[in-house]
């Protein structure tokens, strides 16, 4: 791995932003907890890949970029989409397969899109989002626009040839890409040490000639700080950066997964580092928030989720007559 780029980066985030990080993480988690219930009552179908445990990455990372920056995500995309600012109503409607969903009911949980917010999927092919991310960044270079592209993917994706093609090409062309690797220690049921000959991913990415370093992915503030440094470096013309967020998913790979490959003790160890409890504990100790403040945030989030569910339930289904729409551009 390389040193994180030097330079002035603002210190600890101010109290307001720290509370916002906490709120965003809570929002992602509560949303998914409700999704589990909706899945068990078959309101939501298909694959459902939960982000619970990894919220610090989405909340910290995406709080550090601008509205004009692009984000490319994976099938584990609810947290990314929420942190990017896609309205919860549009996400929930998509999970319900409704016409008001952010992908018009054609994407579902794994394929959330919002072109207006520059959120380009929701890609269920592992590593499939990386090449287009280079192109989004290339377009910014070609138009001399100072935006960056954040590309999220997992430790499993790091093993795909596409990652290595893209790391080389991005570094070679000096593209403004932030490779955000969420190393949650598993690719489905395969542990990191069983999928990678060398398990220090940041070190390997550095071999492509880009700034690259590991980050505690259970600490939203550490994530935000690393993202701030990376974004500053990329915007300053430093070429792509690679951040390896070391994190953990508390739940199974998807709701179809019996999770037989992980030690209970290991899961408990990581849960002891719950990013929400951690930040909440710190904010409480610093007397920035108390139990009542926490409960108020929770109540507001629950109301937001309730409203999204009510709206999704009431939303019309995409008519079957429109099945073949959006295969080709509609011509006048």
């Amino acid at each position: 791995m390389t040193e994180s780029p030097a330079g002035a980066v603002p210190g600890r985030t101010d109290p307001g932003r720290r509370i916002e990080l906490l709120r965003q993480m809570m929002r992602i988690r509560r949303f998914e907890e409700r999704c589990i219930q909706l899945y068990s009552t078959e309101k939501i179908r298909g694959f459902l890949h939960l982000y619970i445990g990894e919220e610090a990455v989405a909340a910290g990372l995406l709080s550090e970029i601008d509205a004009q920056d692009a984000v490319v995500s994976t099938y584990r995309d609810h947290g990314h989409a929420l942190a990017r600012g896609i309205p919860m109503t549009a996400l929930m409607a998509e999970m319900f397969g409704r016409s008001t969903g952010c992908s018009g009911g054609r994407g579902g949980s794994m394929h959330l899109f919002d072109a207006q917010r520059r959120f380009y999927g929701g890609n269920a092919i592992v590593a499939g989002g990386l090449p287009p991310a280079l192109g989004l960044a290339l377009a910014d270079v070609l138009t001399d626009t100072p935006h960056i592209t954040v590309c999220l993917f997992g430790d499993g994706a790091f093993a795909e040839g596409e990652f290595h093609e893209c790391a080389n090409l991005a570094a070679l062309w000096h593209l403004p890409v932030l490779f955000a690797c969420e190393n949650n220690q598993y690719a489905m049921g395969t542990a990191l040490r069983r999928e990678h000959a060398a398990t220090d991913l940041a070190l390997r990415a550095a071999g492509y000639g880009m700034a690259s370093w590991p980050v505690d992915g259970m600490d939203a503030e550490a994530v935000a700080e690393a993202a701030r440094r990376a974004v500053q470096s990329i915007r300053g013309g430093g070429g792509p950066c690679f951040l390896e967020f070391r994190t953990y998913r508390f739940r199974a790979h998807s709701l179809y997964d019996a999770d037989r490959y992980r030690d209970k003790a290991e899961i408990e160890q990581w849960k002891a580092r719950d990013p929400i409890e951690r930040l909440y504990g710190q904010l409480r100790n610093a007397e920035i928030i108390d139990d009542r403040g926490y409960a108020e945030i929770e109540t507001a989030i629950d109301a937001e989720i309730d409203a999204a569910i009510v709206e999704a339930e009431a939303a019309p289904l995409e008519p079957v007559a429109d099945l073949t729409r959006h295969v080709y551009a509609e011509r006048q």
Binding site: P131, P132, A137, T143, V327, Y328
Partner: protein, 323 residues
Amino acid sequence: MTTTYRQALTDALREALDRDERVFLMGEDVGAYGGCFGVSRGLLDDYGPRRIRDTPLSESAFVGAGIGAAIAGRRPIVEIMTGNFSLLALDQILNNAATLRHMSGGQLDVPLVIRMATGAGRQLAAQHSHSLESFYAHLPGLRVLSAATVADARGMLWPALQDPDPVVIFEPIALYNSSGESRGPDTVTDIDTAEVARPGNDATVVAYGGTLHTALAAAEQLAETGVDAEVIDLRTLRPLDTATIVESVSRTHRLVTVDEGWGRVGIAAEIAAATAEHAYYDLDAPIRRVCTAEVPIPYARQLEEAALPSAGAVVVAVQEVVS
């Protein structure tokens, strides 16, 4: 104006680069080397490395990068050396380029053009000689073109770039050195409809790409024996212009399809099925397919020749359907 197929492609690239500053070209060896078939020779000097971009040997990365750039409003032309190598980018083409519009509920345009060389005829053996047009014509969300003539080599690129959907253009390797009439900068190919390349009354021969010339040569031979074959150049393999084929068969009552791809489950099979669906009662004879033998293309010249559709085989097939 007579020119080569290669020069027509170069002219088309220059016109596109001149007309629209969003257009850029990328691929393996398109810059310093001048393109592995010489199509982009000179472009790097004239347009510079921002717009003429040499890429590493990373088909998936640079094709996918073209997709991203297209989504973001650029007009990338991605060159893949040959269709065989395009399979390393098939995931990007199928799962992203062809799919993103639909999966996003219509939010994303992917105005990408992918050019690739295709076909056999130079004893390059299997991994450099396959015709994979039908693989791509199978994919909803793509527009798939094949330039069989010098005029279309020049005239297809611009409408392809205007198209809001991803377009794949196949360029038969065997044609790069051929010559023909170029229609000049302002005549564009109609990429919605097939073209009647040679009118006739006795049988319809459907071809595209390199096999258009095979079919036309066969039609000349047949004319000497008094058989007047109509030859259709498909030009667009997806969406397929079934109407032109059906109209022709309704006059000639006979159909032979010629395809350098394998016959089974291929474009020739699709044309036969579409004709059976739409013009069954117009047919006076069984449909015949003249395609590549069901083998990987061999190296030895006589084997390669034997594997490919020949004018002689087309003549025999037409004679069978008219007898």
